[in-house]
């Protein structure tokens, strides 16, 4: 145990450098993903036939292919048609696109669970469709989506380890780097796992607090 602690603290500065990348990837991607997810969900529920088909195709394409393949297409295949992305940018784009598709499905479910009468009431006082969505439907849908959104964020934090494969020095990559030098694989990767776990527990706690904070009184 003392040996583990010793190795862990020796590795910690490098692991923390990695954690910065991990969190940067996860936070930026979850936010872009939320934007994409809201847009796609709204198009799928309220859009015309064309936007419905297009947004459904997007969701199915992303959900039907491995994230790693999506990342490799962006990072390794695009240069062949002249588009060069840095490892970090390629990772952020692919994680955002991927998370957006999943978030779209969560948000779509939440939108559809808002009572139909809410939209009717919004229309009845003269709101436009867009005002009704923005002022009445989304504030309720987003509250309902927090638990599944937390889940998505937790997944995303762990999935960012895939960025290692295109050369982003994130937490897992840093662990590999340290362990391949001191050969303390067990201790270093246990330490890496511990860091992921701590971050995820903190995030889960934060979001369950957020959920309580924005809960509609009396419901």
């Amino acid at each position: 145990m003392t040996h583990f602690i010793e190795v862990f603290f020796q590795a910690l500065p490098l692991l923390m450098d990695g954690l910065k990348f991990t969190m940067e990837l996860a936070i930026i991607s979850i936010i872009f993903g939320l934007g994409i997810g809201m847009l796609i969900a709204i198009l799928r529920v309220y859009g015309g036939k064309f936007s419905y088909t297009l947004s459904t195709a997007y969701v199915e394409l992303i959900r039907g292919t491995p994230l790693l393949v999506q990342l490799f297409i962006l990072y390794f295949s695009l240069p062949q048609i002249g588009i060069h992305l840095s490892p970090l940018v390629a990772s952020i784009i692919s994680f955002s696109l991927n998370s957006g598709a999943y978030q779209a499905e969560y948000i779509r479910g939440a939108i559809q669970s808002v009572e139909r009468g809410q939209m009717k009431a919004a229309f009845s006082i003269g709101m436009t469709k867009w005002q009704s969505i923005r002022l009445v439907i989304m504030p309720q849908a987003l509250r309902k989506v927090i638990p599944s959104w937390t889940n998505e964020f937790v997944y995303l934090i762990k999935y960012t380890s895939l960025a290692y494969l295109v050369g982003v020095p994130e937490l897992t990559a840093q662990g590999e780097f340290v362990a391949s030098r001191n050969f303390e694989f067990m201790n270093v990767f246990s330490g890496v796992a511990l860091i992921y776990l701590s971050v995820i527990l903190v995030i889960t706690w934060l979001f369950s607090n957020l959920e309580k904070k924005v809960k509609i009184p009396g419901v």
Partner: protein, 247 residues
């Protein structure tokens, strides 16, 4: 000019003709009540008037303006209030915000003006003290009174009530009817669908009896209740009077 004119209104769902050829009109300050058995299209008719349901044919004029041809229906809906059977208050907003959101976001009034307008209408329905509560914290009767205040705050030309007391426990119906009675006295133009026959008799200027998507007959409460022309109207109202006698 009539405040509202409905001419040959038609609506069908697949093979079922829900509204067959509805024509009627309303004067300003009039209280018009629509009665009739369940499933005869009364609710659909109201929803066609503000186009929450799109009519299949006919004409609707609000102060002479064509509702069905209107390109920006939301402009017309601002002038037609609606009170729902299921209240449909905005769950995530306080009572004050439920009433204020129309004047503030739709009419784009200044916040202080919108707040004052909302509070004034909450006082009218006796709920100023609940301004900070959320819908889920209110009783059914209170919710419906907030629903009425929300419609009033838009200062509409007409308010439509779609069975406003049908989802309420019996002991809560009175407070809602009381508010509606006051509105009628204040000269609000009201188009009401309800099964509260005692209330209809007392409040209506005119009654329309509807069945199977058609207007069977219309007239003053005295005529409809005491001397209906059509046998069907008589039968329908008889069910209620029989019920009263048994009670």
């Amino acid at each position: 000019m009539k405040l509202l004119e409905v001419k040959n209104l038609k609506k069908r769902y697949k093979n079922k003709e829900v509204l067959k050829d509805i024509s009627f009109d309303m004067d300003k300050t009039e209280t018009l009540v629509v009665i009739g058995p369940s499933g005869t299209g009364k609710s659909t008719m109201l929803k066609c008037i503000n186009r929450l349901v799109e009519p299949d044919g006919g004409q609707i004029l609000l102060n002479g303006q064509d509702v069905i041809k209107a390109r920006r229906i939301e402009k017309i809906r601002q002038r037609i209030g609606m009170v729902f059977q299921e209240f449909n208050l905005f769950n995530h907003l306080t009572v004050l915000d439920n009433v204020r959101i129309g004047p503030l976001k739709v009419k784009k009034l200044q916040k202080s003006v919108a707040t004052e307008l909302a509070m004034e209408n909450l006082r009218k329905v006796g709920l100023a003290s609940e301004a900070k509560s959320y819908p889920a914290q209110l009783s059914g009767g209170q919710k419906q009174r907030v629903g009425i205040a929300r419609a009033l705050a838009m200062e509409p030309d007409l308010i439509m009530f779609d069975e406003p007391t049908s989802a309420l426990d019996p002991e809560l119906i009175g407070e809602v009817l009381e508010v509606m009675r006051k509105l009628a006295l204040d000269g609000m133009t009201m188009l009401i669908v309800t099964h509260e026959m005692g209330f209809v008799r007392e409040i209506a200027d005119r009654i329309i009896f509807m069945e199977n998507g058609e207007i069977v007959e219309s007239g003053t409460p005295e005529k409809i209740f005491n001397a209906p022309e059509k046998e069907r109207t008589h039968q329908f109202l008889n069910q209620f009077t029989k019920f009263w006698r048994e009670k």
